[in-house]
């Protein structure tokens, strides 16, 4: 059996305490492929590679069954805020 979206969310929530989290199951039902957007204070001061490592190790158990994990965004709350504001101001411009 594959991993569910809820399992991925639960692991990430408990280990990384994200202020924003979006998990999308892109496997078409088998639970082997996910796309993730995550915002956490734990990324502060870490390069992208290190941030991905943090997410990978938080999902260590799940990764045994996940074939593809795409981390679209791994941001700090500060970066996330900036991005949100940039997006908001776009349509107005």
């Amino acid at each position: 059996m594959g991993v569910t979206k809820e399992q991925v969310e639960a692991s990430l929530t408990s280990k990384l305490n994200p202020s924003h989290l979006e998990v999308v199951d892109t496997s078409g039902g088998c639970g082997a492929s996910f796309v993730i957007e995550i915002v956490s204070e734990q990324f502060e001061g870490k390069r992208l590679l290190e941030r991905h490592r943090v997410v990978n190790s938080a999902l260590e158990e799940e990764m045994k069954e996940i074939h593809a994990l795409s981390i679209k965004k791994a941001l700090t709350p500060e970066q996330w805020k900036q991005q949100q504001e940039a997006e908001k101001s776009k349509p107005a411009a």
Partner: protein
């Protein structure tokens, strides 16, 4: 070092549920053995070491605790040589001319578009290498890109760095050195 068969002898004693110590734990201590049993039979069976046998089993630590299942010292020194044999080495599913995974293909196309000479290694041909590499890079998936002997990242990171121009910089620096 144990052989795979020795696993049977490991018993995990769980305290009685009424024990306060047990309740204090986020979840009961489980032995997370990271042995990836390949679907195909291997010529050399992976061996693993159990380094955390002490009774003070801290659950937090246990989460990141990983047994070396496939990365033998021999494989490690071979990989040390492989990743430094060329400036850019890509461990991927399939080959440069016939990628067998969309993510691997993406990285090949990026490297091609940048006109960088690179070496690819098809990890689908060797299950032992495939499992060993996951530990070597501390990275669970493929492709894995190495630049000048250093792990650069997987597909997402490579795409991001390509878009931001960081990849071009890193590769240029590597080519000039």
């Amino acid at each position: 070092m144990w052989s795979v068969g020795a696993l049977d002898s490991i018993t995990i004693t769980t305290p009685s549920p009424s024990s306060n110590r047990f309740r204090a734990l986020a979840k009961p201590p489980t032995c997370s053995l990271h042995v990836h049993y390949p679907s195909r039979p291997l010529r050399a069976l992976p061996t693993f070491t159990l380094s955390n046998q002490s009774s003070s089993f801290r659950p937090k630590r246990a989460l990141s605790f990983r047994c070396s299942a496939a990365l033998t010292p021999e494989l490690k020194s071979t990989l040390d040589k492989v990743v430094t044999s060329h400036k850019v080495v890509l461990f991927m599913k399939g080959t440069k001319d016939f990628p067998q995974c969309g993510f691997s293909n993406t990285v090949v196309q990026i490297l091609r578009s940048l006109n960088v000479p690179f070496e690819t290694i098809n990890i689908l041909e060797n299950e032992f290498l495939r499992q060993g590499l996951k530990e070597y890079s501390s990275w669970p998936t493929f492709p894995q890109l190495y630049v000048e002997g250093e792990f650069f990242g997987g597909c997402d990171i490579t795409v991001d760095a390509y878009k931001s121009g960081e990849l071009q910089e890193v590769l240029e620096k590597a080519m000039c050195s």
